[in-house]
Subunit: 485 residues, 2 copies
């Protein structure tokens, strides 16, 4: 854990009681939770890094009710933490004494237009619900992340979620055309635009996307859909080192262009960990390889022979001595089996003891160098450490996870988290990289942000925060260190 | 002209003289222009709508020199108008008494990486220069607009330029990974990131892109490149009404997916105007058609038979009675000849007398309805008016231009500009559209913005402006009405 314990927020009891009574009268007493056991699911985050505390969980059922709650809190000076599916990995959704505003009841898909290729969803819709709604209209909503069954789109927007299709479709902000946002004073900005082009002022949408609930509370969004792919090809390739993964990426991208929708990698240790612990995981290549690349291609053309294209590229790579072995999925089931080897990795790592995680990115061209240098530095720091560098190499995004040495005490290992942060993040920054590629800052990384981020950028961020939330009541102490802390 | 004459900015002569002397000493006297005839090219904008005035044109040669100029001006309270290629269409680049800061000497491509697919360019590079640099590295920079030979990337970024490839590649902001910006107090924000994923704070990049120089002065950018297409197909299709244009778009997009990079349209009047006035324009289809669609497809695969795909889609459209006639270019020369019919339209319209122009967008699904309703309303308002609605229909972006009735006095016609603004923009807004799809607000449309934009959004914009440029010295009176005006 890299952050010091949060200082709890203390509020005058009478003001709080009065505000909660007003909120309860408006949204219904059954939607204001104060019972400790009923609040439990909102206060514990999944990695167990933080335990939250709140006077009440409030669950408004509409944008107007959210606006009412925010207005009451603004008038009473009560801080608010907005929460979606509570799947965030950096503690952004955890209250430390603030009121918890859950968006889960705003769960309607308001509209879908297959010509505009847009879907308007409320913040509390799960990502899976939105994927399904798009699919039912013969469209694709390409955002795909591990928690998609329970995470909510409002949280995806607040954290600018990434995932496995960023290479082709971009991050959540790239999938967003418009927003509806409750501002810090309770006013509603209706920016639910379905337009592809609109140069009438500052880009407010992108300011709120990725701001982790610190500038406003997103209540709905217009999302971009895409024509549904008709063909798919998935290839798993074994190579001798991480530079070969990158070489294959360059080779494939030059030919495949937009049909290359994902390009992932994992190391031998990761592959063997999945095969050892996960039921249903099946070895797809003969023998072991230092690294594996997983390439996903899709096309809207039903007669597009993607497999033949990949075969052609792989044949050239074999000739150039860049590839040891490869398999191309011949069916949808085989594609899923290959993806399972990659997707089960985070889960499988839990069986290998403590894992110290870094979600970093560097320029794509330098990702192989980075992996080698950071691996060597970490192994030198702790003999027996098992580096598991995997992820979205096509975007330069590496989940640089470190499994503990076999037999070491887990707690003693996890106590070294900050040491490894410094080692890994120093190297990341020397490559002009990011210490949080897709998970955000939240509470976990806010001190790392102060340590590494350009002071001019931090100063501009603080100016914007002060302009849009002058009293500092929206998700206080997240991303930025709050005034007076 | 839809805007009242600007109130000139008056500055105390001694402060101004002292500041210009300081600037001259730092950047070199030859780069501080005060001679009236030498300033002429910076003060007249191409449509002749505005005539600027400035005490001096300063031409710094580096980011550090830009920062110096801004700092001196900040200390002396001197407002600044940044200018690139002076090709803007809404007067954003025109000074009304402020100092003019020309970025033209910052014209180096600093870096290009074909693996990262990034190019780092200074603000004064022309768009054409950047296209050429990308091409030389076997990459594509897809931004393409009519003024590409003289416009500068800094201006493209400041106005979030659009163009003919937005359908596939997005607007300028979508093509930008990082920025270097001189802030209002002269500090430099170095945000020249080459990262594809970086969730470490607010999205400052998108705040500056499209802010028309009112929040900071962009001095350099990291731009996204793409694998160079190896195949191209261009089709010109004649149809009976604008709904059929949209029907063809839907049909083609569902099959072509990402290979559909552009989808434009123009009316019979537009086609005949080009054929009548433009040398080298050749009729491509037998007979005349109410509307023409122009589809552009590209692929990175050298063996991709795009023409066969388009033929298949067109055959289905013929069978469904949606298409009257069509031609598919069989060579690069034929592709260019088809594009010439579309690209020469703005120029050709000048031969038909006064033209009142609207750069609007509506949701793609409603663009045909919009064109019909707005056409009927304008024709009813002025018999003999010749509507020329053309543009980027695949993005919902219509250049709704109105050529004067034959024989009418041009000045008398142009005096009705505001009447037509009200008619067209009222209809646009009723379709949840935008009164400026790609040209921006500048000085020309700032009162229209106040008239139509959501007051909450305007208020948030004003808060951001006050936070980042508290003295209001950066491009004052553009986009937003300045404090105290």
């Amino acid at each position: 854990m890299s952050s010091t314990a949060p200082r709890p927020i203390l509020l005058p009891a009478d003001r709080l009681t009065a505000a909660i009574a007003q909120i309860s009268a408006r949204i219904g007493a059954q939607y204001v939770i104060t019972d400790a056991s009923d609040m439990e699911g909102y206060l514990v985050e999944q990695r167990g890094l933080f335990r939250g505390a709140t006077p009440a969980v409030v669950r408004p059922g509409s944008t107007e009710e959210v606006a009412f709650v925010v207005k009451i809190c603004a008038e009473a000076g009560i801080p608010i933490v907005p929460q979606g599916g509570n799947t965030g990995l950096v503690g952004g959704q955890v209250p430390f004494g603030a009121l918890l505003l859950s968006l889960g009841r705003l769960n309607k898909v308001r509209a879908l237009d297959a010509t505009d290729l847009t879907l308007t969803a409320e913040a509390g819709c799960t990502l899976h619900q939105i994927q399904q709604a798009a699919d039912a209209a013969d469209c694709l909503f390409p955002l795909s992340i591990a928690s998609e069954g329970t995470c909510q789109i409002g949280g995806n927007l607040a954290t600018n979620a990434g995932g496995t299709a960023v290479l082709r479709y971009g991050n959540t902000r790239d999938l967003t055309l418009g927003l509806e946002v409750v501002l810090a004073d309770g006013r509603v900005w209706n920016g639910l635009s379905r337009l592809r082009k609109d140069n009438t002022g500052y880009d407010l949408k992108n300011l709120f996307v990725g701001s982790e609930g610190t500038l406003g509370i997103i209540t709905a969004a217009v999302l971009r859909l895409f024509p549904k792919p008709r063909r798919r090809a998935t290839a798993l390739v074994g190579v001798t080192d991480v530079h070969q993964v990158l070489a294959l990426f360059r080779r494939l991208r030059a030919v495949a262009g937009d049909t290359l929708t994902g390009f992932e990698f994992l190391p031998d240790f990761g592959m063997e960990t999945v095969l050892k612990h996960m039921s249903g995981a099946v070895r797809a290549l003969q023998g072991q390889h230092a690294f594996y690349a997983l390439a996903e291609l899709t096309s809207t053309r039903a007669d597009d022979d993607l497999a033949a294209m990949v075969e052609g590229v792989l044949a050239e790579a074999f000739e150039a001595g860049e590839v040891e072995d490869a398999v191309i999925a011949a069916s949808e089931g085989q594609s899923q089996a290959l993806w399972k080897l990659r997707e089960d990795l985070s889960e499988a790592q839990k069986f290998e003891g403590g894992s110290i995680k870094h979600d970093v990115s560097v320029p794509v061209s330098r990702v192989a160098e980075f992996v080698e240098q950071a691996t060597a530095a970490c192994e030198a720091h702790m003999p027996g450490l098992r580096v598991c560098a995997f992820g979205h190499i096509g975007d330069g995004n590496v989940h640089f996870n470190l499994s503990q040495p076999v037999g070491m005490d887990k707690t003693a290992y996890l106590d070294t988290w900050e040491d490894f942060n410094r080692i890994v993040h120093d190297i990341v920054v020397s490559y002009a990289g990011s210490i949080s590629a897709e998970h955000g800052i939240g509470f976990l990384k806010r001190e790392e942000l102060v340590h590494y981020k350009d002071p001019v950028a931090l100063d501009v961020m603080a100016s914007i925060k002060a302009a849009l939330d002058p009293a500092g009541l929206l998700n206080p102490g997240k991303m930025l260190v709050a005034k007076g802390e």
